[in-house]
């Protein structure tokens, strides 16, 4: 016996994936008056968007990403008013330390290149200025490249706040609902099949993070997503000694002290990703290198203990920039995934850009470098 077919739910757009990119696009599309359905297989912010390092960083962005990153940053600086939630956002310098003249020379060249392109947010700072922000620092550090009004935020708090705002503007979220298949019906609607019935819309946005590959392939646009599990460590509380988010040339490390005194360490060897089971496993043995690097750069760290670690599931693209924009094959299909370990900061700006593209048909941000076609043609060539 056939089960009676469950009701079809229709909107102007269905978004698959309730991470920061799905939520942010939902918010801005709803703001533009569109009816929005978001399908999330687990719960909103359960994956990369809720568990990342919270780095709000323009520093060191791939040149193609800079416009998106700047647009985001403008939103970040007013985020508390915009979302009625401070998102734990704090302005703080992001800096990358140099310990050799050669590293510092590369940094100077980067700043010159940025300035030639009209960007002034990245600057070189000297060791005295660094020490105003970090009180326990190795003597080897001679300078840094920095973005002084970058910052950090609480990732889950942020993603959850974006979701709430989107909801308040009318977006409908269906959590615990897996989008299994996507097909176009005769009327031109996308039909998204889920265990909870079918959802339909003339437009479809795929923001499924590391799980985006299957649907993209089914839609005829396979992409070489590499599952990636960045690992994070959190320490016991230490007295305040660092007011910056810090990385260092040649050291796989990102480092910041939270206002409550705990130190969050990331950027080291990744863990083991297993998207099929939703699991990203921490492997401790290689973390000894991150631990050593931390203690040698910040001697005070020898007093702390690791209280908690985790790894999150992220989609990495072979060229480390995301797949963003229109499908090359289908009208009404859009992509925003593959943020390769640095998509949290981009979330707010990306959503506004996607909404602009989807609602008006164009955006003034150049999305060509992010085209899904860059892989399709690659595959055709091999």
């Amino acid at each position: 016996m056939n089960a009676p077919s469950r009701p079809t739910r229709r909107a102007d757009i269905v978004i698959i994936g309730g991470g920061i990119h799905g939520c942010s696009a939902a918010l801005y599309l709803a703001q533009r008056g569109m009816s929005v359905i978001v399908l999330e297989k687990d719960s909103v912010g359960r994956h990369a968007s809720g568990v990342n390092a919270g780095g709000v960083r323009r520093l060191g962005r791939h040149l193609a990403e800079v416009p998106i990153s700047l647009r985001s940053m403008a939103i970040w600086h007013g985020v508390a008013d915009f979302l009625d939630d401070d998102c734990g956002f704090q302005v703080a310098p992001q800096m990358r330390l140099a310990r050799t003249e050669a590293d510092l020379a590369l940094m100077r060249a980067r700043v010159a290149q940025m300035q030639a392109l009209g960007y002034s947010h990245e600057v070189i700072i000297g060791s005295n200025e660094i020490r105003q922000h970090i009180h326990s620092l190795s003597d080897e550090v001679i300078g840094a490249i920095a973005c002084l009004d970058d910052g950090f935020a609480q990732p889950y708090q942020t993603t959850f706040a974006i979701q709430r705002k989107a909801k308040a503007l009318g977006a409908r979220f269906h959590e615990g609902v897996l989008a299994e298949q996507v097909a176009r019906d005769r009327g031109g609607d996308w039909q998204v099949t889920t265990p909870e019935g079918t959802f339909a819309a003339p437009r479809l946005l795929l923001t499924g993070g590391v799980w985006s590959g299957q649907l993209a392939a089914a839609l005829g646009e396979p992409v070489p997503i590499i599952p990636f599990a960045p690992m994070m460590l959190v320490t016991s509380r230490l007295r305040p000694f660092c007011h910056a988010v810090v990385g260092a040339a040649g050291v796989p490390l990102s480092f910041k002290q939270m206002p409550n005194g705990t130190v969050v360490i990331g950027g080291g060897r990744p863990g083991l990703p297993d998207p099929a089971t939703n699991r990203a496993e921490t492997v401790f043995h290689p973390l000894r290198m991150s631990a050593q690097a931390c203690i040698s750069l910040f001697p005070i760290m020898a007093e702390t203990s690791i209280v908690r670690t985790w790894a999150g599931l992220e989609a990495r693209m072979p060229d480390d920039i995301p797949v963003v924009g229109r499908s090359q094959l289908h009208e009404g299909l859009y992509y925003a995934f593959g943020f390769s370990g640095h998509g949290f900061q981009l979330g707010l700006g990306m959503g506004s850009i996607m909404a602009e593209l989807i609602a008006t048909g164009s955006t003034d941000v150049d999305l060509a470098p992010f085209s899904v076609g860059r892989f399709t043609s690659l595959q055709a060539a091999t």
Partner: protein, 464 residues
């Protein structure tokens, strides 16, 4: 090179000791790791070293632990005391710390025998110095022969009476026992009494303890409610309502108890399936007839798999130890069947105890102003506010308000936070979720991690 063994047992209480003894006796290579300096677990803690006087105070059940420990000592199982296991990978690699250094080993089968934790007792004032669990008071007595002189015991459960009677025997009777079992529990539990009579020894013993405490002249307040520890920087008294009036007992120490619940850290770390046990009001890992979790190489025995007490724990440990040997090709000499029958008999008393000593409803749903997460000092009201905002479960609540993010890793507040959230959502506790437990299970000094020994290409190869 990573050391490989057939069986790693974690926890040297009755369950772990028995499992290690049987498996090693059958010829498997066995390592038993425990963070304590001596075998016995919580129940038989320091049992090898106790002198005659202390043995007398602690009673005959405690003395039973000696035989178990002796059998283990005589077995070929290797014992690593002072070893704190803080991570187990899906590749069965166990990370642990011992004597200030990290080491690791891999086992074909892992037996988690990590016992029970006391149920959190979030009442006003429970974070003051001088408030301990009742189990803590017993540990003081067992390991150091130290007793509190100015003490009130409050709560419910067999351990409350056992410790009260031990303190009486030690010549340090508590000022009072304040029991929170509500009126009417007995009639609710009566239907389970006939079954319990199959292990009537437990009931007789329990009644004997209560009688001994009363005989010693200890004030007993029954059906107490609205418990509140009083004090600014230290405990000054306990307030409660009983018999239709308010009471205040001046004291400098309060022992709280509301029963024990499985220590799920390892089975949660490995993402085993868990269920809400409505009778025991707690989560436990789902186990098959061989005490195997949903992760086929991980077994859980003893209270860590569901509360059954010391004898049941030892029986389960023996069953798993023998079972592992049989599965490794050793002959089955029929002992497993006999042990299972004995285990059934032993557990017969449980449904009655569970019904009678079900936790105080006030503990499961504390007042808004009461702290539930001791580490991060988060109140029940803050948890409820996060739920009102729309946070769907304990993990999102944790991300928002830091419950369970302190050094105890949610061991103490976990079940309380789950039940508060479920109640605030109008859901039954069996719909409640639980924290995802992240490694390390215990904080690891950064200097120790920096000195993690290099362990060769095999593990390196697993790295992406």
């Amino acid at each position: 090179m990573i050391r490989e063994v057939d069986v790693a047992v974690i926890g040297a209480g009755p369950a772990g000791l028995a499992a290690a003894t049987e498996a090693a006796g059958a010829g498997l290579s066995v390592v038993l790791l425990d963070e304590q300096p001596a075998p016995g677990g919580q129940i038989y803690r320091a049992v090898e070293g106790a002198d005659a006087g202390l043995m007398h105070i602690l009673g005959r059940d405690y003395a039973e632990g000696r035989a178990l420990v002796a059998a283990f000592r005589a077995s070929p199982a290797e014992y690593l005391p002072g070893a704190s296991v803080w991570n187990i990978g899906t590749d069965r690699l166990i990370d642990f710390s011992r004597g200030g250094a990290i080491a690791c080993l891999r086992a074909a089968s892992i037996v988690a025998a990590t016992g029970a934790l006391e149920r959190p007792c979030p009442i006003p004032g429970w974070t003051l110095p001088g408030v301990t669990t009742v189990g803590a008071l017993q540990i003081l007595l067992k390991t150091s022969a130290v007793v509190e002189d100015d003490l009130v015991l409050a709560g419910a459960g067999p351990l409350l009476w056992l410790v009260a009677s031990q303190l009486v025997a030690a010549g340090a009777p508590p000022r009072a026992v304040v029991e929170t079992v509500p009126k009417g529990r007995m009639s609710a539990a009566l239907s389970r009494l006939p079954g319990a009579l199959r292990s009537a020894g437990y009931l007789r013993k329990g009644l004997g303890l209560i009688a001994a405490v009363r005989r010693a002249g200890v004030a007993v307040h029954a059906h107490a409610e609205a418990l509140e520890v009083e004090g600014g920087a230290a405990v000054t008294g306990l307030r409660f309502r009983a018999g239709g009036r308010e009471h205040r007992i001046a004291c400098s120490a309060v022992g709280l108890h509301q029963g024990v619940i499985p220590n799920q850290q390892i089975s949660r770390l490995l993402r085993c399936d868990h269920v809400w046990d409505a009778a025991q009001h707690c989560f436990r890992p789902v186990l098959d007839a061989h005490f195997r979790t949903s992760v086929p190489w991980l077994h859980v025995v003893g209270d860590a798999g569901g509360i059954g007490g010391a004898r049941a724990a030892a029986l389960q440990g023996r069953i798993v130890g023998l079972d592992l040997a049989v599965r490794a090709g050793r002959p089955d000499d029929g002992r497993i069947g006999a042990l299972r029958a004995e285990l059934d008999r032993d557990l017969a008393v449980r449904p009655f105890l569970e019904a009678f000593y079900a936790p105080d409803p006030a503990i499961l749903n504390p007042a808004d102003s009461t702290i539930v997460c001791r580490c991060e000092e988060v109140t029940a009201g803050t948890v409820r506010a996060a739920v009102r905002l729309g946070a769907p479960g304990p993990n999102q609540v944790k991300s928002l308000i830091r419950t369970g993010m302190g050094p105890c890793q949610g061991r103490v507040c976990g079940v309380a936070v789950s039940t508060i959230i479920a109640a605030a959502q109008g859901a039954l506790p069996d719909r409640a979720d639980y924290y995802r437990i992240r490694p390390p299970l215990k904080p690891v000094p950064l200097t120790e991690l920096a000195a993690y020994p290099v362990i060769g290409p095999e593990v390196e190869a697993r790295e992406p």
